[in-house]
Symmetry: C2
Subunit: 336 residues, 2 copies
DNA sequence: ATGAAAGCGCTAACAG
DNA sequence: CTGTTAGCGCTTTCAT
C-alpha cells in the first residue's frame, strides 16, 4: 500500500465497520475477541497508524501541552522543561516548547498562536515578572481568553485565581542571610541585580529583612548595585577589593553575579573562603570544590510539580487555585 | 458569545460565505476591500480564532516540527534546541520537544507517536550513535516509514541518504592534539570515555592519529580509561597524580571529564596550567579564568543549521542528502 | 457486539 | 469577486 491508509481501508480489509475499528483502536466498548484479533492483524499487516490530527479534530481536543519559558537554554529552565517532559511523557502527552526570549510582545504572540491549537493546557513562566505594575490586568485578560488550564511556573504572579509554583525569592534570600548570621557573620554585603526587576528587588528585600530582624544596620557601602551579569559583578568586585575595606561575606544575588565575583576574587589573588566569603543565590554546578555558600533550588522538581498541577487541573477544572512554594536548601560553607 | 466561534458563525455575522472568510483568514485569493474590512471587523468583535486542528486536518498537514534529543537538560542540547526554536519561530512553526533519555526503545516509541501527528518534519539526535553495528538497518526502516523529512543532528549516522549536521569527533580531537603538538608538547595523555560508545572511540581515534602522524608513540600508561563522568575522571586523576609520573598534558575527552580532572588537580594542591595542563573536549562555560585549552563547539549554531536544512528539505524534498560538518575552534592555552 | 450515519471546522475546487 | 459544496479521517450516538 503506497498511499496512507485510513480507518476505512482497515475496516473494509477486515470486513467490518469503521466504528468497530475505532473501538479496537481506542480499546473502548465491546468488540468480540475474534473481530478484534482480525482487525489487529490487518492493522499490523498494513502498518496502519491512525491520524492524530483527525482524531484531535473529531474530539475537539489535542494531546498537547505547551510550555513557554523566557530562556530555553538557561540551565535552570532547561531542567524545569525536562521535569515537565518527564510527567507529560507518562501521560502520553506531547510537549510544545516556546521561547519568549524575555519579550512580552513575543510571549503575547505565542499565546495567540497557541490559542488556535486546542491544547490540553499551558505552563508558562511569564517574560516579565513585574506585572503588578500596570500590565497585569491586560495580561490576565489574555490568559483567561485562552479558556484552557494554565499553570504559572517560577513566577511572582501570585495574584488572581491561578495555579502557581515557584521559589520565593524573598524567603530564600532571607533564610540564606539568616543562616549566615546565625553562623556568626555580621558584615554581609550584597551585589544586587537591576532593582527595577522584581526578582532583584525581592532578593534584596530578603537580605534587608534578615539583617534588620537581627539588629544589624544596613551599611549602604556594602550594597553594590549590579545587574545580574558576570561582567558587572566582576567589575564591582574588583573595585570593592581594591579599596581594601570590604565585607566579610558578599551575597551574590544570582548565579552570573557569583561567577563574576569569584573570578574577580581569583584575579585579585585572594582566596575564596579565606580572604572573603560568598553566599550565592543558586549553586554553580560546575565546580563543587569551591568554598562558598549557596541557595540550592531544584528546577527539575519544579517542572515536575508544575506539570503535575496542570494534570490535576485538567482532570478537575474547578479545583481552587493552588500556590506552591518550592523549598530550597541553604548550604552554609564558611569556616573561620 | 460563550461557545467557541466557528468560521460559519463569522460568515453569517458578516453576511458572507465561509469561503470568503477563509480567504481573508489565509490572505489568499480575491476579496474586495469592503468585504474584507467587514469580515475583519466581525472577527475582531467576536474575538474569533480559527482552529488550527481543523485547518491541519483539512490540509492534511500541520504546523509542527518535532525535535528528539537524548538529554533535554544537557546545556549542549538545550542550546541546540534554542537554535532550532529560533528558526522555527521565524517560520511560524511549533516545536515539539521529545526526550529519548538515551534510550533507544523510548526513542522508537516517540517516533511511533510522532508518526501519527502529520508533522512537517523531525530533527533527531539518535539515542545511540553506534548503530553501524547491527541496529542500523532496522532503524533506517523505522525512520523511512515516517514518510516525512528528517534531519539528523549531532550524530555519527552519516550513512544512507539522510541529511546530517554534526561535529566531527575524530577531526576535532585530531586538530586539538595536533595544535598542542605544534605548540611544543610531546607527552600527551588522554582520559577516554567508555570505548564501547562511538563518541568515545572517535575522540580516542583522533588522539591516536594526531600522535602517530607526528611520530609520537602512544604511551599506554598515559591512556586512562574513563567513562565521561566527573567522578571517574576525578578518581583517575587523583591516582595519576599520586604516582608522581604523569603526562605533561591530559586530553580530557568530554566536559564532565574535564571537571573531574580539574577538581582532582585542585585537590592535589597542584596548579592547573603550571604543574599540569589540560585540553578539554568542550569548553567549560562557567570559569573563563581557568588556564586550560579546549575545543569550542557551537551547538546553538548547530541547531540553527539543522532547522534550516529541514526547512530546505521540506521545500524541496528531492534535494540530494547533505552532510554538514560543523567547524570548531581550538583554543590552545599553554605557557611554559 | 456491530454498523450506519452525522458531524467536527476548515480548505479547495468549482460554478457563477 | 463570492458562495456552494465536497471532502479530510476519526469519534460518537443510535439503531439493530
Amino acid at each position: 500500500m503506497k498511499t496512507k491508509m485510513t480507518i476505512e481501508d482497515i475496516a473494509s480489509k477486515a470486513g467490518v465497520g469503521i466504528a468497530t475499528v475505532s473501538r479496537v483502536l481506542n480499546n473502548r466498548g465491546y468488540v468480540s475477541e475474534k473481530t478484534r484479533a482480525k482487525i489487529e492483524e490487518v492493522i499490523k499487516n498494513y502498518d496502519y497508524v491512525p491520524s492524530a490530527t483527525a482524531r484531535n479534530f473529531a474530539k475537539k481536543e489535542s494531546n498537547m501541552v505547551a510550555v513557554i519559558v523566557p530562556e530555553a537554554h538557561n540551565p535552570y529552565f532547561a531542567a524545569a522543561v525536562e521535569g515537565i517532559s518527564e510527567i507529560l511523557e507518562q501521560q502520553e502527552l506531547l510537549l510544545i516548547l516556546c521561547n519568549s526570549d524575555k519579550d512580552s510582545a513575543k510571549e503575547e504572540k505565542i499565546l495567540y498562536t497557541l490559542k488556535q491549537q486546542e491544547l490540553k493546557g499551558i505552563i508558562v513562566t511569564p517574560a516579565i515578572d513585574d506585572l503588578d505594575k500596570g500590565g497585569l490586568k491586560e495580561y490576565k485578560e489574555i490568559v483567561e481568553s485562552l479558556y484552557i488550564p494554565v499553570v504559572f511556573m517560577d513566577s511572582g504572579l501570585n495574584f488572581y485565581e491561578w495555579d502557581v509554583v515557584y521559589f520565593d525569592n524573598i524567603a530564600n534570600s532571607y533564610n540564606a542571610i539568616k543562616a549566615a548570621i546565625e553562623d556568626g557573620s555580621r558584615e554581609i554585603g550584597i551585589i544586587t541585580g537591576d532593582l527595577q526587576t522584581k526578582t532583584a528587588r525581592d532578593r534584596y528585600k530578603g537580605y534587608v529583612q534578615a539583617l534588620e530582624e537581627n539588629g544589624i544596620d544596613i551599611n549602604e557601602k556594602y550594597v553594590y548595585h549590579g545587574d545580574f551579569t558576570v561582567k558587572t559583578a566582576y567589575n564591582i568586585t574588583r573595585k570593592m577589593l581594591s579599596k581594601g575595606k570590604y565585607p566579610e561575606i558578599v551575597f551574590t544575588s544570582n548565579n552570573l553575579t557569583t561567577i563574576g565575583f569569584i573570578k574577580a576574587v581569583y584575579d585579585a589573588k585572594l582566596k575564596l573562603g579565606r580572604d572573603i566569603h560568598c553566599i550565592s543565590f543558586d549553586k554553580l554546578d560546575t565546580f563543587e570544590e569551591l568554598k562558598y555558600s549557596y541557595i540550592e533550588r531544584n528546577p527539575l522538581q519544579m517542572g515536575r510539580l508544575a506539570a503535575t498541577m496542570l494534570m490535576e487541573r485538567i482532570k478537575e477544572p474547578e479545583l481552587p487555585a493552588r500556590k506552591y512554594y518550592m523549598k530550597s536548601k541553604i548550604i552554609v560553607n564558611i569556616n573561620r
